[in-house]
């Protein structure tokens, strides 16, 4: 394939930036706030001039302008309407005609596939069974991640009674929400620090993603899940033993079946130190782990990691939700995984080809229901915990996921939004104005980890309260009692087959 030359672009700007000249006081703050260099000050006109083509609608300038003088709107193209060839299709073709490249994007799938969470409703108590007031009665959100024994054996002669069964190591979660894997490199140092502090304060866990753990953070290790992905970046004995658990990353929802590619621009000196690769080189994660071509091979890596940590930590496996996910997860449990993280096709990413992100995988709602069913049928559900993610936006999604069969959920995008992300989908450029998906020190300095941790803690606290409210309405006093209670869910606007897979009845039945 030859590399096409650079040609003038015909792709119109996606957004229009308007500066209200009457409101603007020419403080020029916006010109430095924009990570994408869309705004400049013109001395000649004594005015802020916007280059619409560079605007990504990250809203940093809009938020930071002291005079609320900036408005970003959709550049409505008035292309001749066409229900088949949408504006997006036309623009994408133009981009590819100009570059010959794979369309790269970031964050989760933005196409309007049905969101099943929004077609599921939760039950409540009325008359025949009492609801519980969560403000005045105990309401347990604690849950445990890891293998549970098939049965418990006690030594009958002991007093007090002693447990004979050896329990596998479990993670204790005070809220059933963990922060999903986001690597240092794809996100910034203050993001990792915010997540870590928040995890510590909320009694939950953050996940390093596949880029290693910065030296500074080894002291927060009790709330860190360390990932081991195909690139093995920053993976060594000390790292493995630093985490509370280890997660083998096979895939992620945004890009099932393909590897990772952190562009050299984002491999800063510090990122290079953590990943243990030279600065400025592309960090390529191979598509598969080349020591894993089968369930038996996966088992081998699981046990290599258990041996490496002397069986003191749970070892989980993260997979993307794909068509045959139930059978795959059954294999993963049998391979010895203490938990499985299933990432639905709406899961976010720091960079992915659009064709994969928007077309590959299945929704987490269906994947979760199918996996939970399968593991129950096979009598092995207790051997593993299920963490699901890929589009968890609010506490009701958490509750529905748990009622469908999850032990806990993981959030990535929602956590970043709490930190300021506007889901502009430009993480791959490394220019994030919010200091989140960038390694540019001028930009990362904007995110204060203390404030970040507070925002994340607030979010989880708010979701916890809401979850308790709903549990109270359901008349359930512990989140673990809700797990897999599909009888407490009903579907609206769903076809019979979908209801069958979800294992829920239609509303009215």
């Amino acid at each position: 394939m030859s590399t096409p030359g650079v040609m003038a672009t015909q792709v119109p700007p996606e957004f229009t930036v308007e500066i209200n000249e009457r409101k603007c006081v020419r403080c020029k703050r916006c010109t430095t706030e924009c990570g994408f260099e869309a705004l400049t000050y013109s001395r000649e006109y004594d005015a802020i001039v916007a280059d619409d083509a560079k605007c990504v609608a990250c809203h940093r300038c809009v938020t930071m302008c002291p005079k609320h003088a900036i408005r970003v709107t959709d550049n409505s193209l008035a292309y001749k309407a066409n229900a088949n060839f949408s504006d997006i299709h036309r623009k994408n073709i133009l981009k590819q005609a100009e570059t010959g490249g794979i369309l790269l994007t970031a964050m989760g799938c933005d196409r309007d596939y049905p969101v099943l969470w929004d077609h599921i409703l939760i039950d409540a108590c009325q008359v025949t069974n009492p609801s519980i007031d969560p403000l005045r009665e105990p309401m347990e959100l604690r849950t445990y991640i890891g293998r549970k024994p098939d049965c418990l054996e006690f030594d009958p002669d002991s007093d007090p009674l002693k447990l004979k069964t050896e329990l596998a190591p479990n993670l204790k979660l005070d809220v059933p929400v963990v922060f999903g894997g986001m690597s240092y490199g794809s996100v910034s140092y203050p993001v990792h620090k915010s997540l870590m502090l928040a995890a510590e304060r909320c009694g939950t866990f953050m996940n390093t993603g596949e880029g290693g753990l910065h030296r500074d953070f080894y002291r927060h290790k009790d709330h860190v899940i360390v990932q081991c992905a195909s690139g093995r970046f920053g993976v060594h004995e000390e790292y493995l033993n630093a985490g509370a658990a280890i997660e083998i990353k096979i895939g992620q929802g945004a890009k099932p079946g393909i590897g990772g590619h952190l562009p050299g621009e984002k491999v800063s000196e510090d990122v290079s130190k953590t990943r243990m690769i030279p600065a400025g080189t592309d960090a390529l994660s191979p598509a598969p782990h080349h020591d894993i071509y089968s369930i038996e091979d996966l088992s081998q890596l699981i046990y290599a990691l258990k041996e490496a940590t002397r069986y003191r930590k749970p070892v989980g496996v993260k997979v993307a939700a794909v068509h045959n996910i139930a059978a795959i997860c059954s294999g993963i449990v049998r391979a010895g995984a203490d938990y499985i993280s299933i990432d639905g096709f709406r899961g976010g990413t720091g960079a992915a080809p659009r064709v994969i992100r928007d077309n590959v995988g299945i929704p987490i709602e269906l994947a979760l229901a199918a996996v939970d069913d399968r593991l129950r049928q096979e009598g092995i559900r207790n051997q593993t915990s299920l963490i699901c993610g890929g589009g968890i936006r609010q506490s009701s999604d958490v509750i529905k996921a748990i009622a469908l069969g999850a032990d806990a959920v993981m959030i990535g995008t929602s956590a970043l939004v709490a930190l300021g992300c506007r889901v502009c989908q430009k993480c791959n450029t490394g220019k994030c104005s919010w200091g989140i998906a960038t390694q540019n020190p001028r930009l990362t300095a904007r995110l204060d980890p203390e404030e970040g941790a507070q925002r994340l803690t607030n979010l989880l606290n708010a979701w916890s309260h809401e979850t308790q409210e709903v549990l109270g309405a359901l008349g359930v006093n512990a989140i673990e009692s809700l797990r897999g209670s599909r009888e407490r869910l009903r579907g609206v606007g769903l076809d019979e087959k979908t209801l069958e897979i979800l294992g829920i009845k239609p509303a009215g039945r």
Binding site: V235, H236, E237, M276, A304, N428
Partner: protein
Amino acid sequence: MTKIDATDMLYRDLNNRIHTLADRGEKHIELRNVCGQKFIGDALKGDVKIDIYGIPGNDLAAFMDGPEIEVHSNGQDGIGNTMNAGKVIVHGHAGDVIGYAMRGGKIFVRGDVGYRVGIHMKSYKDNVPYIVIGGCASNFFGEYMAGGVMVLLGINGDDSPIAGDYVGSGMHGGVMYIRGDIEDRYLGREVKKLELDAEDHRRLSELVREYCAHFGCDYDEIMAKKFIKLAPKSHRPYGNLYAH
């Protein structure tokens, strides 16, 4: 020195014994009658030396960080998986995926090796991994290689090619020295063939001397044949693939 008879021992029990000994400060462990036990030396640290008689199972020296393991027979797959430091010496042949993502330390194999040896090996600052193979290698030798040094001697080879297809496919760092030549059609798209310079010769001769010391081979005889060097064309082979 402590000897362990590994006959009929489960790998978990065997490795547990090794860990306990190493934790107690034992410097030399000899394993007898090893038969396929996996994960020997997994994540082991310090300066212990382990001699293995019999055939160790997969993932020998995975995540290892310092010790030396000498296998007095053949090895299996995954030797030195994500190894950080230390040394593995294999007197016979070894299997697939040797030195996967290895970041430091040395592996010497006297015989032939299987597929994808040295895949995604990487180096960082003083951490440079080395693999020296006395025999021939199968397909995808040095695939995705991101750093480190690999030497392929092809000593026991007949007339068949010294390596299989796709040598250095996706390579974006590090260097390989091949004794003899490799036809271009066996090379991955991302590698180029070069002449060795003085620094290459210095590095190569050091490694070959070490190889000879372990296996009792004749240094001059090995070095009599010309070597070629394989290096990546670019450190960012896929930089131009994308549109934003």
